[in-house]
Amino acid sequence: MGKRTIIPFGPQHPVLPEPIHLDLVIEDETVVEAIPSIGFIHRGLEKLVEKKEYTEMVYVIERICGICSFGHGWGYCAAVEGAMDVKIPERAEYLRTIWHEMSRIHSHLLWLGLLADAFGFESLFMHCWRVRETVLDLLEKTTGGRVIFSVCKVGGVRKDIDNETMKEIVDTLNGLKKEIKELTDVFLEDRSVKNRLCGVGVLSKEEAIELGTVGPMARASGLRQDMRLEDSHGIYEQLDFEPVIAEEGDSYARCKVRIGEIFQSIELIEKAAFKIPDGPISVEVKGNVEGECVTRLEQPRGEAYYYAKGAGTKFLERMRVRTPTNQNIPALVKTLQGCDLADVPMLVLTIDPCISCTER
């Protein structure tokens, strides 16, 4: 039994691209307790609803996070559309789905790279990010932006993808499969990588439910939980969506689930490109928001929750975004208990933290 020591971790730390602070209570080399503190990048952007009209607010909401920006725009627009009872054209839903799944591919590749960096495999990090650039090129070609796309608007989308570009997207992504497979095989087969991942940071199914875990983290603990199953517009149902699930609940399982989702997203995009109907890409939206609506959306990191409430003026009364990382922090605290100090950076990464989402 060693002496208890508290080690402050973060906010500025070599492995963290974003600031989060943890007080790690350690005994010898084992973490006994971890107390998170956040707020380093709290901006208070939800309150901007009082200054920006509900149609302008999309741009603010997109900038909650530079990785899942498309999803945030979609979630917000859907919440406002729900509160206003606006039905958007099916083609727009399909386009949103395609962009969202492309965001998922780039987000998961980004995460794989950061994970590789966290366990000290820098060349793997570089390769993951190199492949990711191809996906970003496709996003840039279709939306005009690498990070912030601004293609979602209340009532539909701003840009269409023509058939030729759609074919190019499918071909390019299919062409990437081989390269992604080579990379992901390293994560799943390499002995030294497995040594770092297998059995580390186990979260049981019961704990996952108890702590309200969402996204790949929950699915890696055996929960069949994915908001894409609850698609009110039925797009994912038309694409025969079934979530990727693993049972082990350790870091390896989380890695496996996200890798599975990369390939799944490529398939979803391919099916969507085949099934997308012709038609308009947006409807005109008139009037102001009156009433409230909750929408949920499966972001790359898990379920995100949007709540919009309006009182009949052009400004919303309340806009609430609850992001997946926010919901996964309790699970992180739980998995950190009992882990080795040297595993902390990697475990922090396995929840795929997005702090700017969390703090808004």
Binding site: V294, E303, K309, E317, R318, N326, Q327
Partner: protein, 115 residues
């Protein structure tokens, strides 16, 4: 993308029993958020079970104390501390109480500024 709001009002005295009931039925906590309204605060508790969303809406006066639900859902501490720091909602018995130091903001309770 799920657009099903399902919001039901709940009285302050019924909150804890209702939450306990949901817990025993296997619900997970989705989120908690506060909205500043003229009569005080509206607090929205969201629960989910097998993709069914249930929102409980609690309306309290500004000075009224709200019971923490961390005894049943420990992960609520994040949202309860957030509501306390940003709105000034008074919450008692939070399992992990940061005592107003969860979000460090330039002005206290920015969503409900004191005159």
């Amino acid at each position: 993308m799920s657009v099903r709001s399902n919001i039901v009002p709940v009285a302050a005295s019924d909150l804890l029993p209702k939450v306990r009931e949901l817990k025993s039925e296997g619900y997970r906590l989705g989120q908690i958020c506060a909205t500043k309204v003229s009569e005080g605060f509206e607090i929205l508790y969201s629960f989910d079970k097998d993709h069914e969303l249930l929102n409980l809406k609690l309306t309290v006066a500004e000075e009224e104390e709200v019971q923490s639900i961390t005894a049943d859902f420990w992960s609520a501490f994040i949202y309860e501390n957030e509501m306390h720091d940003l709105f000034g909602v008074k919450i008692k018995h939070i399992a992990l109480d940061y005592g107003g130091h969860f979000f460090k903001v330039a002005q206290p309770t920015p969503w409900n500024p004191k005159k």
